[in-house]
Symmetry: C3
Subunit: 498 residues, 3 copies
């Protein structure tokens, strides 16, 4: 198709599309207006990306203006802004409202049919209407997930060991130098990439040739993504574009995209629990949409969101626990790691420092790095918030019993990891395998790999299993059975090396 | 809050709550009455545990009296009692009806606002209305699951090996002495704990300070729980409190809480089968509530309940197979174990005895311990019951073919386990590893752990895969691939030891 | 029951059943007629197999005649025939229409109450109304799945190694000679068996003694089944009898029956992806039934069917991509195998031939066997079809980025497999383990088993993970972690052997 014809067609179709919009969007007397800019986006995108247009049309964003949203009472409201610039007030939240907001701050902004459009909508865009949620989220570990992996030399080395290519040379399997792509296609899918503009590319489209930015680290919807506007984090891993379904954000499958196992088996553990069984059996009849989630009425068992984030209310609207996007607000412990400890003090977890100077909230002997973890007082504050969720259905005796068991299991797994780590340290000391003492990679040899599994897969599973009452994950499935087998296998390997 | 004020508030609020109840419970002319006692429970618990009150309000228990329930015809009836004490007849089944029944028989009964309340509702409580179901269940292996694990010295040693702490001393990984908590937080979550009253504890509540019993082995809803009233078993693992949803009891997710794998992978196998695929795809439109489950109409593929427990009827109400809570009624074989055998004769499986005096229904050479397993005649009776379920959709040729394949697979796995066990016996005989012949733990060394996996994970999976047509579990997923790999790994380890 | 009485009852009941049918089938003025033959089938089968009768009654087949089906417009039509023999035109598609079609061509046809009935309905039967779909399917790899496994000496040897019994003799674990049953109960459950008539058997039925064919390789609904009429393939693995639910065929659970893992983990990967999370969270409100599937309206995330098979249209009915039952139509690559390559050229994949004469589309050094794979041009054709699906929701930049990442991952895994294969070749060369160079089984020794896992489980998972954005399967779950661990374990085993 010649460029001229393409342009002609583009203009022609865009005009036509505009009409199509007028016909197709349900516009009743009560339906709030779509901005002119968004109307133009829809005109073409109804043709080139019909799926997301149809999704958006069914979303909350397409059916309410900020003016109306801000009028709602506290318990009904989903926006936390109390004012927005005039031009956003009386239109629904459409394509243009997000993708053309503050164009100068977005490095991926490009000229597109007369608009300055950016590809990657960032938390800073969402903050226009949802400032409290974005701020809370920015304080979470999740928003810092990129740096928490890549700026922590210990975790970075583990990640590099996992993602690097493996080459067989001179009878040995050696690690290649991992490149950026190796991280981007693996760990950073969840942790978030650094999204950068590499240049522009011209593409043929149904509306003629057009130029689009080429992005590095894209596609990506990791929780700690570094966006082209410099902001950290992404709302879309949980609030999936372009439906922005609250139902989906509250369902454990969404969390399960990253917390799936074997390394962070939260989703599997939940699904094996009584709570998970209730969810799977009965949630077809639950109401996932109310901004204030009514326990026992809207839902009869907690999902991930209920325990960690959602505002829970009783039948009469009394708030049992407030909504938070700072995900550690109800977390006294950090279960993840070689050892479970009181929760790490920093959202930027790489700022932790243990006795040996390593960026970990614990020492290798299993004691917490006291200055890097929260106080007992703060633990109690968080534990009490979490318990409020539990207590909305369970008696105090049961709840206390449950968390006592979690404490026991933490001690159990920490103690087992002291054993595993001592065994490995002996192997390192003997020099048969080289690791931390020799300044060598502690994650790449067979016995080291079993050690990693002992905590990253098994101790973690056991702790999650106890925390969420997913019993099989304490015992057999990635549980004590495998932890025990792994320790004995390490012992066997140690003896083989002699 | 001072004690005096607390008490005052408590009394005040309880009075108030009573009124709230009058307002909130949907009381129409047709709605059956709530007992005065339950009304008082609801008064406060609507505030302190709103979740379970809301669940109960939506349950069948909240909307029918025993008098009405007993009037129903056989196929519509869910209660099996034909008479109950007068005071239970004309009220719905509320908090008090269960939690204050026969207070003197429950060791966990405590004074609570003028009531003698017990925490743990036991099958003996449920038997007031459901005596047939409770009796049948008491005859099942499930009701004896605590003793079947803890009183069987072989299984107890395996369990102890799994749950015990592991300590690294003098270059070796050794087992700690497991304590009660180690069992309670692991195996006994499914098998059931012994729940005992350890004392009383005072707690601050929204209604002032109150005293509550402290329970050992709690929380727990294991199928073989030993309750404070001395009864065995628990109804709540399947009939989840406080909705008591029949839908949930009939859905495989409930069974999957314990039968999940890798040790008893029934749920995973089912989900990978055609039946499971039908269930997952289409069950959103099924009717799970009718007491007599209509094949092809209410449901179009069996769930665990359909094959093992439910009363199945045709469109015209003809009974195809009767309901049972004695779960082995349709089970000719016992698939679980080193070897699959005719089903063990005893509900208390630890009463089995093989030729070597071990409490197992088979000898270590793979032959059944004839006096501990059911007769061929009884096998046929059970098989025919199971086949009736199959035949409601499938032709006899297909059903026979299916069970012939199961028989083949049983022979296959038994034969592979003869090999695995002989290999291990050779290792024991050589004295390199110590096990049964030396009176030592046969489950704790690396080669022994592989042997355990060969039957507990893989032979079992293959058998379940064949029994439920979950094909991937016969072949790759925990199937023949892993069984073969495990046997070869054992052979390799045996040679390393030389 | 005496034979005479049985026959009498049979005749009596069949007459009676006929009446029951007249009463029970919803016959309104608009309801299309059931053939006399089918009416007779239903008479008895409503009693003996009520489940499938009830399912069929709710199926599309029971409510439409071919005459009406053929009248529908292209986008609404589910049948592709433009004419059928007169007797099929004006009746619904019932038991007799399928099970008595062309009786002489079916070796499993038997006399049954005056009808010539065959047990196994084959694609050739379905082709009466669905000729295009059956033809396309016959050209797919799936239809050839039996031969693709059993006639490929390499894959056959791997399969034989997996399914064969294992016997411990003279201190070694050796493979038995696998028999037909070993294949039929394992691999061939998915690949399809050869179904043959072995004879007839008499059975007692509620209608007296009757004779039925005994079938070898039955039950089976593998995709490449060889049917008693000589045809290849089976429609029922996806279009489950007797509901023939389009909803079920479009849901990933159906595909997951075989593509489940660890060997072909497509289902698990999908379920861990954003698409899978959307499906699991929101599909309760989707419309799975329209023959032309409306993106964004009927469904908001692709299922397996959407990407690989379905006709996708936009809101206005514009076709985005056409339906196909030739499943490779949108597949540029073959991801499965030691190495991923351009898609193999042959539906009968055993016809591939590499430089060493092996029936594989790649050489052992990782290069594609050029003459056995599709051209770059054909790859582009297929890729563009697939991308059309993606582009219905995503921008071109994102889609290109995604497939660039897949390409990177293919290179990554191929390169790792070059390493694994070289390592193993060194072991073979050293003669410590015998394999291909010695004409010995390359799949049966411990180090060989790890090599098989490195590609069959891990490289495959990583590729699927990248192809479907199921991130955890690239990294931890069956991903790079396990691939790296397996390579290092192979290195360790190689050194142990020295």
């Amino acid at each position: 198709m010649s460029k001229g014809l393409g342009l002609f067609l583009a203009v022609f179709m865009m005009a036509g599309c505009g009409q199509v919009v007028n016909q197709n969007v349900k516009v009743s007397g009560n339906e709030p207006p779509v901005s002119n800019a968004t109307r133009k986006c829809l005109g073409c995108h109804r043709i080139v990306t019909p799926g997301i247009v149809a999704q958006w049309e069914r979303s909350r964003h397409a059916h309410i203006t900020m003016a109306e949203a801000m009028k709602k009472g506290k318990l009904e409201r989903l926006v936390s802004a109390t004012s927005v610039p005039e031009k956003f007030k009386n239109v629904v939240v459409g394509c243009a409202e997000c993708h053309t907001q503050s164009p100068d701050t977005h490095a991926d902004t490009f000229e597109h049919n007369g608009f300055k459009v950016h590809v990657v909508v960032s938390p800073r865009d969402c903050a226009l209407c949802h400032p409290v949620e974005v701020k809370e989220y920015s304080q979470s570990l999740k928003a810092n997930a990129y740096a928490n992996l890549m700026k922590n030399p210990v975790y970075h080395q583990l990640a590099a060991t996992v993602v690097a290519g493996k080459t067989y040379v001179h009878g040995k399997v050696v690690l290649d130098n991992p490149d950026k792509k190796d991280f981007e296609t693996a760990c950073l899918k969840c942790h978030g990439t650094v999204v950068k503009v590499k240049g522009m590319i011209k593409k043929n489209t149904p509306f003629g040739e057009m130029a689009f930015p080429v992005l590095e680290g894209w596609p990506n919807h990791g929780v700690g993504r570094i966006n082209p506007d410099g902001s950290k984090g992404s709302c879309t891993p949980c609030h999936t574009r372009h439906t922005f379904s609250m139902e989906m954000a509250r369902k454990p499958e969404t969390c399960g995209e990253c917390h799936k196992g074997p390394d962070v088996p939260a989703y599997k553990v939940y699904m094996a629990s009584k709570h998970g069984a209730i969810y799977k059996s009965l949630s077809g009849k639950w109401n996932f949409e109310g901004p204030s989630w009514k326990v026992g009425t809207d839902f009869t068992a907690p999902t991930c969101a209920a325990c960690h984030m959602s505002r829970i209310v009783d039948e009469n609207g009394n708030v049992i626990v407030e909504r938070t996007h700072r995900l550690f607000d109800r977390l006294p412990y950090r279960l993840f790691g070689i050892y479970a400890t009181p929760h790490v003090k920093y959202s930027q977890t790489y700022r932790a420092k243990n006795g040996a100077g390593l960026p970990l909230p614990y020492n290798l002997d299993g004691t917490p790095a006291a200055s890097s973890v929260i106080s007992e007082e703060e633990m109690n504050v968080r534990m009490n918030k979490m318990k409020k969720v539990c207590l909305s259905c369970h008696a105090g005796t049961l709840v206390d019993g449950h968390f006592n068991e979690l404490k026991d299991i933490i001690d159990y797994t920490n103690s087992a990891e002291v054993s595993a780590t001592r065994l490995l340290t002996d192997v390192w000391k003997s020099g048969v395998e080289k690791g931390l003492p020799q300044g060598k990679n502690p994650f790449d040899e067979p016995i080291e790999q079993r050690w990693v599994e002992s905590w990253l897969f098994y101790a973690d599973s056991i702790r999650y299993g106890a925390a969420m009452a997913g019993q099989d994950y304490v015992t057999f499935a990635s549980g004590k059975w495998y932890l025990g087998k792994t320790l004995k296998t390490m012992e066997m390997m140690k003896n083989l090396k002699k």
